[in-house]
Symmetry: C2
Subunit: 371 residues, 2 copies
């Protein structure tokens, strides 16, 4: 049994569960190295408090059970969905899991897997297992942080290679596609954490903008929210630039957001609540009179998934501990005019927060990056 | 109410449901045009048999409710998860959905949404709604087929632009990354249907190969399984090539697979069972003595999702009807030596299957594509 599965078993016992059940996703990769697409065929790994492991999967995928995963008891099925139940029932019989609570990941396990699990493990209660499965990946080790740092380096390099291609008339979509190309060239894995946001002018006032055919023109802000993927670990960064002469208020909110980002990064420390980071960033923006224009939380956890624990909102009393990694991304959005967001990826160290990102945070003229 | 929601309401009534509940994904886009990332915050659209619509979503996302979606009753919540239940309860009170069965998509709805739905709609049974929600998107209209054809054109163009860059020593990963770049250059949307498979030599014998650092060398088969995305619709194609002089048996299985692909495409027709296509392709391979080396189904539905109904396996008695779209992708895999798969995207017409893909199907020398 690998040490991660051992830790999982300890957490299962500590939370008085009978086991956990995982479908394809990052936790499965973390625990077993098993990569599967999330498709129409149910795949589930069950780990019991006794340390027994069983995986139910299509016969076609059995070849992936190598390394640690070769030790799992495997129950396979064929192409006809009528045969799928049988494999789950065989796993149930083998594990003798007849009662108790089994934790699942609420954001990942689907109605599909739950249906097969409920039918085959009739005495078992499948419950929200976030406390076990979230805790498992919450604190990153040195190797995980090194991969996140590499994902940051790749993303930053790709942005710099993209900035100098911007010019009057380029569309958000074209700029976003160029950024994707540069991410791949810089060494990102092809499964990007999310599609980059490139938002020009008034579109930058929408925090969840999707690139459009809007063309760049002088006087625009340029907001870019992007990330890379490296050996399963992600970066997620936002920077905002000016193109030509922009309105003075946009420059002022740029400086306020920069200060809010700094205040958030300086406020966090081990032993403090996650909410402290949100409140510190938010206070700067509120003090400047832009409180209502910052209408989202200050950040979210980052690691193998683009959004994971810990979430950085005012009410979150989760205690920060070394190895937690999350974003700090305050913003101010002025509808019709533009918005600024500055997002860093940070790790909790022994005495504070360390930023993995190091691109300049000021809202700079994109022209200064043109070679 | 748009015509797609009207059709959904008709299907809800025909299957005697009280309604359907959808989380972010292709069916939500199909019905409402609403694009959301599937994240840690639950977003659900409910449509009742009376044609009432309610959407529960984060306040931050409310700006997306434009067009048809502006008519939905909206129930929003903030960043603190403690507030999320309230929004679901408000939706429940407004819809007066107190009993009956509500259909969900088993491959999409998660434990997360199910938990909030079960708590707020206490008298309701949430069940597998595939019959309603699968039927909704099963038959593509002319506009949808035109988009799929464009996704095919983009993918084919990207492959041709990639083939001539192949050379001794290039790795599968480098070739796959180049193909992604060419897909974006050719006009694919950035959300590719899946990461391309490029498999050299013995790796082509693994139908679910993931690109590695394996370098190309003379005598290899080159198997490429890739697709593009165009305005929400996908292509998914496989072709196999030779590099240098390859073993005679590999050329022979190439010709058998080409014949199996042709037999499958010629066997399908409206009014026949989907399984007919599988059996026709499989018979060619069995007759040639390679039955056990073709160990997966012959295809899967394709449209807004890379795998959707109808699935093409021998036992599937679903009747083919015009507008259904799916892949035909027989293969023969010889462990340690190599594999051939030839995959086309087809649409059921009034009198047979029409292929949207038209690249040569023969296993050709990649050298013949070098400019």
């Amino acid at each position: 049994m690998n040490t991660r599965i051992e830790k999982c078993v300890e957490l299962i016992k500590a939370h008085d569960l009978a086991g956990v059940a995982l479908n394809p996703g990052q936790s499965l990769i973390y625990l077993s190295g098993l990569h599967f697409h999330l498709m129409e065929r149910p795949i589930v790994l069950i780990i019991t408090r006794e340390g027994e492991t069983a995986v139910i999967l299509p016969e076609l995928e059995k070849g992936k059970l190598t390394g640690d995963a070769a030790e799992f008891q495997a129950f396979t099925y064929g192409d006809d969905p009528a045969s799928w139940h049988t494999a789950f029932e065989q796993a149930s019989a083998a594990l003798k899991l007849e009662t108790g609570r089994v934790g699942v990941e609420p954001e990942h396990l689907r109605f599909l897997e739950l249906h097969y699990l409920n039918s085959a493990f009739r005495g078992v209660d499948f419950i929200n297992g976030s406390e076990v499965l979230g805790a498992l990946r919450l604190n990153k080790d040195a190797d995980e942080i090194a991969r996140m740092r590499q994902a940051v380096i790749i993303a930053q390099e790709a942005l710099l290679a993209t900035l100098w291609t911007l010019h009057t008339g380029i569309t958000e979509k074209a700029a976003a596609n160029e950024l994707i190309v540069q991410l791949l060239r810089a060494g990102s894995d092809p499964d990007l954490p999310f599609e980059p946001i490139v938002a020009f002018g008034e579109n930058s006032a929408n925090p969840h903008a999707v690139p459009t055919h809007r063309a760049l023109k002088p006087g625009d802000l340029i907001l870019v929210d992007w990330g890379a993927s490296f050996e399963g670990y992600l970066s997620d960064i936002t920077r905002t630039f000016t193109f030509g002469e922009v309105d003075g208020e946009l420059l002022r909110i740029g400086e306020i957001v920069r200060q809010a980002n700094q205040a958030g990064r300086e406020a966090g420390a081990p032993g403090l609540a996650a909410g402290v980071v949100d409140r510190a960033a938010r206070e700067v923006i509120e003090a400047a009179g832009y409180g209502p224009a910052f209408f989202h939380r200050t950040g979210h956890g980052l690691g193998m998934e683009p959004h994971e624990a810990p979430y950085i909102y005012a009410e979150n009393d989760l205690t920060l501990t070394p190895g937690m990694t999350f974003t700090v991304e305050p913003g101010i959005y002025l509808p019709g005019k533009g918005g600024v967001r500055i997002e860093d990826d940070v790790v909790v160290t022994g005495d504070g927060l360390q930023s993995l990102t190091d691109l300049p945070r000021e809202v700079l003229a994109v022209e200064s990056f043109i070679r």
